[in-house]
């Protein structure tokens, strides 16, 4: 096609794309183990560089300056964001990147339509191209705006769900308007002149953007693991359907892999809360719930508060300790103090592991990333199914910044909002120390009977201050 690789056989381009596709698959395979995962990421990046490189060289680039400038600006911004952002701000950064991918897909599909209309006239558009473009525009714009709203929530700008009247009716209404715009585009009903601008497509994009905002705004911060996983799937599906617009194999393969990944994660997150996706998206909880007097009564006279000195005495005699981190650890940036405490205990021969609930934090695997950053080896991080049978042989459980994921109400009260949710059975240990700022309820808005149990002690305070106090006290006793 008159690019720099002119003279090579036509099949060269799809063959190179095939190699890229294989590199993505091999890269993902290496992600099945923490030791090989870094290498997998590099292999995947190589596949990407290959696909982009061959594309730049293959096609006749009439405007090399435009393309070069765009690549430089994008790479500069991407590098700057990735390098300058703190680990604690990574969830929102991932949200922003995800949105950009969806937005890019939506723009490409639009630009392709505009280009085709310019070259062939409106009658030159095939129904497959317009249909795939409509799907891309819808998913891409929802991903773009939804991800930016989610990133804002993860950044703590407006964490609480924002509800509006007739919420679900409005969402369905806006979705039907977007779908109608898509139908106008595909069937080319002459309601609106198609024109050189392909107006129905941009109308679809505008409406879908509004939909993206409306969908995510009512969802609370603690449901973000589900939202991010779902938007991750959307960004992949948007890329895959762009592949249908452009007839491009590697876009379809890579986009579909991402779509599958996001959907699987979405399902895992929903199951970990025993809620359906529909319930998370449309029936969300997490509104400001006032604790009624009767509920607060369970704490009356049963809550025993403790001090760092007392906890350290317990730690000194413990043989097995499980640390259960929650979102409070991330907020307080307590991971380094927690890791130091674990290391001190380990040095003294104590068996220390971390029990991590799948929805602890704001992203799937959020706690693991924070702990890894603080040098905790992945062998010490245990999943719920692994850790639960071991609590009965555990001397001390230290819960820091977690609440709903250690709430026994999930088993005992079928009317509770967390009924049936798999939780960490920390109360089966000999002693449970719960580090929390107050007795206030977690995201589900319900009290936690664990705090009032006979073997539970409350260590009130900020996660980092409390963990640091334990570290200092423990060092003093050595």
């Amino acid at each position: 096609m008159a690019g720099l690789l002119d003279g090579l056989p036509q099949d060269t381009l799809p063959l190179v794309y095939l190699v890229s596709g294989v590199l993505f698959i091999v890269g993902l395979r290496k992600l099945t183990h923490p030791r090989t995962a870094e290498q997998g990421n590099l292999i995947s990046a190589t596949g990407m560089a290959l696909a982009v490189g061959v594309t730049v060289l293959w096609f006749e680039i009439l405007e090399p300056l435009v393309l070069g400038a765009a690549l430089l600006v994008g790479a500069g911004i991407g590098t700057w964001l990735a390098v300058s952002v703190e680990t604690t701000e990574m969830p929102q950064l991932i949200g922003v990147f995800n949105g950009f991918g969806g937005g890019a897909s939506a723009l490409v599909a639009g630009a392709e339509l505009v280009g085709q209309v310019g070259a062939l006239g409106a009658s030159g558009l095939s129904a497959t191209a317009t249909g795939a473009a409509a799907v891309t525009g819808l998913i891409g714009a929802v991903t773009f705006c939804g991800s930016l709203v989610a990133a804002g929530k993860l950044h703590g700008i407006y964490e609480n769900p924002i509800h509006y009247p007739a919420e679900n009716a409005i969402k369905v209404g806006v979705l039907s308007v977007a779908v109608s715009a898509g139908l106008v585009l595909v069937t080319r009903i002459d309601l609106v002149p198609m024109g050189e601008l392909v107006a129905p497509y941009w109308a679809l994009l505008a409406v879908a953007s509004v939909l993206g905002v409306l969908l995510v705004v009512p969802i609370g911060g603690a449901d973000m693991p589900v939202v991010i996983a779902l938007l991750n799937a959307f960004s992949g599906l948007a890329a895959a359907s762009t592949g249908f617009v452009l007839n491009n194999s590697v876009l379809i393969i890579a986009g579909t892999l991402v779509g599958a990944s996001g959907l699987i994660l979405t399902r895992i997150m929903c199951r970990s809360m025993n809620r359906s996706l529909v319930n998370v998206l449309f029936g969300g909880h997490g509104g400001p719930t006032a604790t009624s007097g009767a509920e607060a009564d369970i704490y009356e006279g049963n809550v025993v508060s403790t001090s760092p000195e007392e906890v350290v005495m317990l730690l000194e005699t413990a043989r097995r300790v499980v640390i259960v981190p929650g979102y409070g650890m991330a907020v307080g940036q307590a991971q380094h103090a927690v890791a130091e405490l674990a290391q001190l205990l380990e040095d003294d021969g104590v068996d220390v592991v971390f029990g991590i609930h799948p929805v602890a934090g704001r992203l799937p695997g959020h706690m693991n990333v924070l702990l890894a950053e603080a040098n905790v080896p992945y062998e010490r991080m245990r999943e719920l199914s692994e850790i639960n049978p071991t609590f009965s042989q555990t001397d001390l459980v230290l819960v820091t910044g977690a609440n709903d994921v250690v709430n026994p109400t999930a088993y005992s009260d079928s009317a509770s909002p967390i009924a049936g949710m798999p939780v960490l059975d920390v109360w089966e240990a000999q002693t449970v120390v719960v580090n929390k700022r107050s007795l206030s309820p977690g995201y589900a808005g319900i009290p936690n009977p664990l705090f009032a149990m006979d073997n539970a002690l409350m260590l009130f305070g900020d996660a980092r201050d409390s963990m640091q106090a334990l570290v200092n006290e423990y060092k003093r006793g050595r």
Partner: protein
């Protein structure tokens, strides 16, 4: 015909993705999200063609912004994943 071929790729890649992703441990779910996120930036190769094609000024402008967004996604996504995964691969004391 192209549509059926595309659909074939889509369906097979979907099943392959399911098999691959279900084997990835929960510990690596955040890097998985940011890594797959970077892969979804593959849409960049579509934007490269559109931005450089010189179809029309409008197509070039749209292509320009698409390339910027997709490149941010690709470069940033891989770098963030790399930083996270380096922590997992690191042995204690290094």
């Amino acid at each position: 015909m192209a549509f059926v071929e595309n659909l074939t790729l889509f369906v097979l890649a979907g099943f392959l993705g399911y098999e691959l992703i279900t084997k990835i441990p929960a510990t690596l779910h955040t890097p998985l999200i940011s890594g797959t996120n970077a892969i979804s930036g593959i849409t960049l190769i579509g934007s490269v063609v559109v931005a450089g094609s010189g179809h029309s000024t409008l197509a070039s402008v749209l292509g320009f912004f698409a390339v910027v967004l997709a490149t941010v996604n690709v470069v940033g996504g891989y770098l963030v994943s790399h930083q996270m995964l380096r922590n997992f691969g690191r042995r204690r004391g290094e």
